[in-house]
Symmetry: C2
Subunit: 413 residues, 2 copies
């Protein structure tokens, strides 16, 4: 069945959007509902593109609040790893369902995920109706590269059984947890099968110092030497990238995803150098990181923090403007991330904003989306032409909340 949204506001003009077979068939002032269509009267609500969460660990909603206010290593060693060792597929499924609900609620319809039991996350994503690029975290500190290779292939096979909303990826955890040999074959596998690769890079200053000490080069150069830096690569964090690394990343066409809230919460001490990255043309996206270290998955909130952190770090209020910050959060600035523009032929993924929002209606919409709104400004969310949230209501939310809380309880969280 086709879905038609009538009477929406796009760039100040009244428009309709007709969605057929998951894509935007027509969009414009003349578009109206046809007989048999499911129809939404937007009542003059703003139509805007959804956000893309470029880096998260969805099922870590179960770990929300578990960070206490701890530093990174005690947090991982005392709170996260012992519990992760006990996770089963149902834990991950309900944690990821909760994450999907929170992201849907706040205007994110696509995310990049790195977590255990990736098939359980994929199942949750399909049930929720959203989209995700998913990879199992690959470590080989305690296993041979050969064992890791088998694990990677098994993970990919499981993910390849899903539908078009799931994009399988390779997710080597970091340069300090994956051997040089494994990074090399992961790069080759990515090239051979055209698979996206997600990796944490340059999150802490220690990582950079260790890389220099061990390999004699900075992290981006090390990755590049192993064939891991190209237009299929998403580098999460990038806090300590220097100008030479940024120039190399731009040249290779790789994407950096900034996670300002998690970086500030874990107090890594720096901020991804966006102005320098912009100068050389790096593709940039925005991520929440996991709910264990944020602790929210509302990317609108992180969008504001991203802009504030850039201005603060530069001691310059002009360091970033609202429009470019928004382009980072929608994924429009980094093609790999999978932005969905509002145009005929594109996937029918979009948001309708709440009309009764005290924070909207006075300022410029783009500025207000960045600086005044939270995800609560979103009333209705459509993905692939399906209405996944209508007037703030998400089907099955009560059950999702109850089941996720039950799983967290089981884990002693």
């Amino acid at each position: 069945m086709a879905l038609t949204v009538e009477n929406a506001l796009l760039d100040g003009e009244r428009v309709g959007v007709r969605c057929e077979r998951g894509t935007i068939a027509t969009l414009g002032a003349a578009v109206t509902s046809e007989p048999g269509d499911e129809t939404i009267d937007a009542g003059g609500a703003h139509l805007v593109p959804p956000l893309v969460n470029g880096h998260t660990h969805a099922a870590m909603t179960l770990f929300r609040g578990s960070g206490g206010d701890l530093p990174l290593m005690p947090w991982l060693e005392e709170k996260i790893w012992p519990v992760e060792a006990k996770l089963d597929a149902d834990d991950v499924y309900w944690g990821a369902r909760l994450a999907c609900a929170e992201m849907l609620r706040s205007g994110t319809t696509r995310f990049w995920d790195m977590y255990w039991q990736p098939a359980a996350t994929a199942r949750a994503v399909e049930e929720a109706g959203v989209r995700a690029t998913i990879g199992a975290p690959l470590f080989d500190l305690n296993s041979s590269p050969e064992e890791l290779r088998r694990a990677a292939h098994t993970g990919l096979e499981e993910l390849e059984g899903f539908g078009p909303h799931i994009t399988p990826a390779l997710a080597p955890h970091a340069i300090y947890t994956v051997s040089e040999e494994s990074l090399r074959w992961i790069g080759e596998l990515s090239a051979e099968r055209e698979l996206p690769v997600q990796i944490h890079l340059s999150e802490t200053e220690k990582e950079v110092q260790d890389c220099l000490a061990e390999h004699g080069e900075r992290p981006a150069f090390y990755l590049d030497r192993l064939g891991m830096l190209n237009e299929r690569t998403v580098l999460a964090h990038g806090v300590w990238l220097d100008p030479d690394e940024l120039a190399l990343i731009a040249e290779r066409g790789a994407t950096v995803v900034s996670n300002p809230v998690a970086n500030m919460k874990l107090a890594v001490g720096g901020v991804f150098p966006f102005p320098a990255a912009r100068t050389v043309g790096v593709r940039v996206g925005l991520g929440t990181d996991g709910a264990g270290s944020n602790d929210s998955l509302d990317l609108f909130a992180d969008l504001k923090t991203f802009a504030l952190a850039q201005k603060h770090a530069a001691a310059d209020p002009t360091a970033i403007e609202a429009e470019e910050a928004l382009a980072v959060a929608t994924g429009a600035q980094a093609p790999l991330l999978g932005a969905t523009p509002l145009e005929a032929g594109a996937p029918a993924d979009f948001l309708l904003l709440r009309k009764e929002s005290p924070e909207l209606g006075i300022g410029d919409l783009v500025s207000d989306l960045v600086y005044a709104a939270s995800g609560a400004a979103v009333a209705t969310t459509v993905v692939a032409g399906r209405v996944l949230m209508r007037d703030g209501e998400i089907p099955e939310l009560d059950e999702i909340l109850a089941r996720a809380a039950e799983r967290a309880g089981r884990l002693g969280l």
Copy 2:
């Protein structure tokens, strides 16, 4: 009529709250509705104290988005001051009504305001049912101290005609816009009539350097010498206070209100030194500043940014913990700000959280309120025993939005 809230969750226990004549008459497990009471079944929703916005310029909702991404002085000179010269009482009234709606929506029931046409703001506050401490900004750069004194008295008389929800205050703008002579008599008037004083202090490093150059002492010492630093004083910003100033402020019992979002947006380059302030016992509150430089009035968002900015500035994730950050935002840490604790005899001001909040329900509630929630987590807001928002619905919101937009349009904003 009495209001009774049944079946709420407070610190993990089911409780009822009965409100009579604007105060909490009884609170506890045994409290239930009596015949004739207005009754709310909270259905197991969390009952929490509201937040206090310690520094704002409410009517500046009309200026939302007008900051562009400009530095402070061009923003003031090009965007703000020319328009402020044209403001009438109705502009301020509707701007302040919009601000009250946005604050109510996001869990703030009391605010400290400094703005033109203070009686119009007071009228808006009374209509909205919330509470505010209000002062007209006092400047004497272009007038004599005698003219300023007359203006101050006129402003106070207007504000004293309002009911108990309005607390009149003196609001000298800053040490660089009010003469030494005027600061002195403002301090005397405050002492004589027991009036609170709000002043911007140490927002930019330039202000500190200018104060040192002109007066040979840092801003807090200068204020103290003029009799302006005491338990009635609220210092907004305090970004550049040094340890000696913090010790003096603590000794005098004055309150510092941090405005982390506005400070980062205007990129003043620093962060209020909370850990140092805590060490010497300074009373601390949290403010949004005006919507022109934030651009939101959702103090829950600023609460998270406050904690993140402290951790980031200290490069230490333990620099502030969730519980102390929340105490700053509720005003519990600074008696002057007017916190409303949840206990019998206190003003009947409280919030009920939304049960269907994906971001709540897994973690510890205090941690989630600080790091995971936005103001959208608030479902119902009660002030003085009156239900001002029920299940997210604010009466007259449509009219307020329309009238505020009309006033902003009239002003060319």
